[in-house]
Symmetry: C2
């Protein structure tokens, strides 16, 4: 199966490059330029070159079932006249209008339309299925869940079967034992009850122990806020930090658009810092300083720095020295460090390792009261890829009791995150150990997934770099590749004539020619170098 | 067990009324006055009498395991000095500071402290356990989940066992069949993949069919947004509707504080309308009109009306005629109707029935383009009480395609709600039918829970009304009672001297004397009649 997938991805790429572009008549759709996105408040005034980049490839399996059904295709309500409706686009919250989210944007909508049409008219297109590479959603692409994790979840969902003899035959002994352990941490074994608003105490203990084992520094259950995936945690921090459009958040460009969307929804200002494609998406402190100063000169009070490590969508893994500089920068400038570390298990090159910012800051001598850090983790990524379970947590250190009380209050308003997601977050941070019945099969599943991801990342990276006019940095980690593609002038003009960004124009043609769904680089805030 | 619980609740109430108050020396802590809450933007300027009410009793089982562990008790970070921290209470988003959420507020925090101390010093208090009646969390109080629902969830979590012979012995045949049906609606059977941002299409079909069967009017899957419980759906609507503090939302007082909290977090203005305790928490259109006009005269643009039916925390069930008037009022005034219908299964009196606002508006001849209505539903309430699963949906009708597109975009930013919660929402709206293997046991479980809730509601209502100085309206539905308690002047003065609201003062004494946790009426916005 995996062999097939790799072949398939290779064929698709080759097919793409050999399809003549009907608009510009170029024999290869191989050169590309991305236009700047007007939605970002500060332009690329940096001394860094702003980089030509365009497409995001998902380095996960390309085997794809139909995933989305577009609600906006032909819904019944479109035929009505809403002239007397009390709400119109002009009268809703303008922050909602300003929010953008490219990974589920117009290219995906078009793909869904094609998919529907493909069912009715097979053979009408030069492809027979849509390949969704727009988002990191491994299980939708055929990746199987870790058996041990699912066994424990099923037993916690239906504890009545725990004592049956058939259960012994169906489930591994350590999964049964783990389910008992987890249920014992829940008052009344009630997995259907609201928990503490930060999450079940015993599960937070397990997560804290996992963080300690990873970092070699103490972790505390009181610092853990369990959430429905990492997204609500990011929203909660933006809500806390942003008072008005005069508050800024430093974000990498290219960036995962959750950050720009969340900042827009909370009415703040995204202060971009540009990653340097020429140095493998390097994060330079001089760039951070320049952008901070530029923002200050515009009256923006910069409150926090977002770092995504491993990078999304850029796939780089930060070096330890670089991380130390970042910690020093935040400390000096009085910034909260928001560390998106959801790809901590996804490292594909032997010369790079993941180090958490907690570990780095502690190794520099900073303790609880010296450094304000939030680390985001999710069950959606890693080797587990349990996106649909919506589990995750943030570890919050260096905030005063008064601020924590406010955070607890906001968490309380939504009562708690879902208990299955909470359980899964604890399993991910406390998987089977040597000697456990499931240990060997668990390790085989884990290694199989991670080595397959690494192999596919390398295959795509190599394939992209072999194409004329296409360059792509090394896929060190995460689940994405972000190649640079140069477009001929005629294609750029054709895009202009079609009133669309050149990268969106290219992505649309790629989809129409091959059925492959990618996200235009401009959706990540990436700007043109021209 | 239930017999015991009823006895226990009776004893506790008796015990409360017989404990002399150490502060005011009254032989009975039986008279009570609630002070107005300064946090509401408009005071009780209504012609309606504003009502003396105080305590919220949960009409669920009073059997209680220790539920919360207070994160703010003695956490390790309290000993540190945060003077160099970049964040302080003065510099966070003031909307967060303004947000209040009483059902997990200071009385609950005190209860958690007592609970911890009780473990160390059993016998130090006049009670031996804490009875949490502050929130509707049935499974934390011993209510068992519906077996069929949990069977299906477990099988969907671990589909690998579906074909095993042991599974036939452990699970009912229709649960296995239902799990297969659900999995077939999920591309690749991937319950670990992100779904469509509104939820899995087939599950939305099942929910729409359930709504149709309930109302007798068509429902459409495109109108359904599946969410992690009802709370995120309420937040999403507030985010859409509120542009600034000049935008107002009409909310009942007393109200479930999710509404005031969410309006505060999104920076809007709560426009209160007062329910009339004297007429069984009647909702009068004249009151709505008065409050709307008052708000308009202050420059507030009122955008929506929140109606909670059955009432939370007041337990009344709206009459059909009243609902028609409400629909007419919204239509005339150009308001979106936000209908909190999460207690639709919780009706305890034979002379009342639940009618959805969708059904009422359709029966009045309003169609898709005539009336803007959002109905919230949750898996946390009803007879299922699956709070920890965080499942729910909103049915959105009467919004233009452009607005729906904006809503879909905002839903996309959080990708999707948790799949187990989605599955459960579909099961709740499509439970076993006559002839299914599970039907009889399902009905027995459902009837057992609903009749027990009804019995306990009546027991508490009667017990409260027998107390001197205490009156309580009929518990027609939902899970709460909201009695009025008159306090003697001396108690009010003692509360003033302690710098606390009289109702909070009473609730604190009740807790200290009996271990029973209730929520002061002022936490629901209720004001004094004096």
């Amino acid at each position: 199966m995996r062999r097939f997938v790799v072949e398939k991805s290779r064929n698709l790429i080759t097919r793409t490059t050999r399809s003549p572009c009907s608009t510009c008549s170029s024999p290869k759709a191989s050169s590309f330029l991305v236009s700047p996105r007007p939605s970002y408040p500060t332009s690329s005034s940096s001394s860094k070159p702003s980089i030509n980049s365009s497409l995001r490839f998902l380095a996960a399996s390309l085997l794809n079932p139909p995933l989305y059904c577009n609600p906006l295709l032909f819904p019944s309500f479109m035929a009505f006249n809403y002239s007397t409706s009390p709400l119109s686009v002009e009268t809703i919250n303008p922050k909602v209008l300003r929010c953008e989210y490219a990974v589920r944007g117009e290219i995906v909508t078009l793909a869904q339309e094609l998919e529907q049409d493909l069912k009715k008219n097979p053979g009408a297109y030069p492809f027979d299925e849509i390949i969704y590479c727009n988002i990191g959603n491994p299980q939708s692409l055929g990746q199987q869940p870790i058996t041990f994790f699912r066994e424990v979840l099923a037993l916690c969902d239906h504890p009545l079967i725990l004592d049956s003899s058939e259960t012994q035959a169906l489930f591994s002994a350590d999964a049964i034992e783990r389910a008992f352990q987890i249920l014992d941490q829940i008052p009344g074994r009630a997995t259907g009850a609201y928990s503490h608003s930060q999450g079940i105490r015993g599960l937070r203990d397990a997560i804290a122990a996992g963080i300690e084992a990873r970092d070699g520094y103490p972790a505390n259950r009181d610092d853990i806020f369990l959430t429905d995936g990492a997204s609500p945690a990011v929203h909660m921090m933006m809500q806390l930090l942003i008072r008005s459009e005069k508050d800024g958040i430093l974000c990498p460009i290219p960036q995962y658009p959750l950050y720009s969307a969340s900042i827009a929804l909370h009415g703040g200002t995204l202060v971009p810092y540009y990653l340097d494609e020429a140095t493998g998406w390097g994060l330079e402190i001089s760039e951070l300083k320049n952008q901070l100063e530029t923002a200050k000169s515009k009256g923006i009070s910069v409150r926090a720095l977002v770092v995504i490590n491993p990078g999304n969508p850029t796939g780089q893994v930060l070096a330890e020295d670089n991380q130390r500089e970042i910690v020093e920068f935040c400390k000096k400038e009085g910034l909260v460090l928001l560390a998106d570390e959801v790809y901590q298990e996804n490292i594909y090159v032997p010369d790079k390792q993941f180090h958490s910012f907690k570990k780095i800051s502690r190794s520099m001598g900073y303790g609880e009261s010296d450094f304000s850090l939030v680390s985001f983790q999710s069950v959606s990524k890693g080797y587990y890829g349990e996106c649909g379970k919506r589990g995750g947590y943030m570890e919050v250190t260096g905030f005063s009791p008064e601020i924590r009380e406010q955070m607890y209050k906001v968490a309380s308003v939504n009562l708690c995150s879902n208990i299955s997601g909470q359980i899964l977050a604890s399993l991910v941070m406390n998987p089977p150990k040597v000697g456990d019945e499931s240990y060997e099969s668990y390790m085989a599943e884990k290694d199989g997934i991670l080595s397959s991801l690494a192999r596919r990342a390398k295959t795509l990276e190599d394939a992209l770099n072999k194409l004329e006019g296409v360059t792509c940095n090394r896929a060190e980690g995460a689940m994405y590749l972000f190649p640079k593609i140069e477009l001929p002038q005629k294609a750029i003009e054709a895009a202009k004539a079609a009133n669309t960004a050149p990268d969106a124009f290219y992505a649309r043609h790629l989809l129409n020619a091959t059925g492959v769904v990618v996200v235009p680089g401009s959706g990540f805030g990436q700007v043109s170098s021209s």
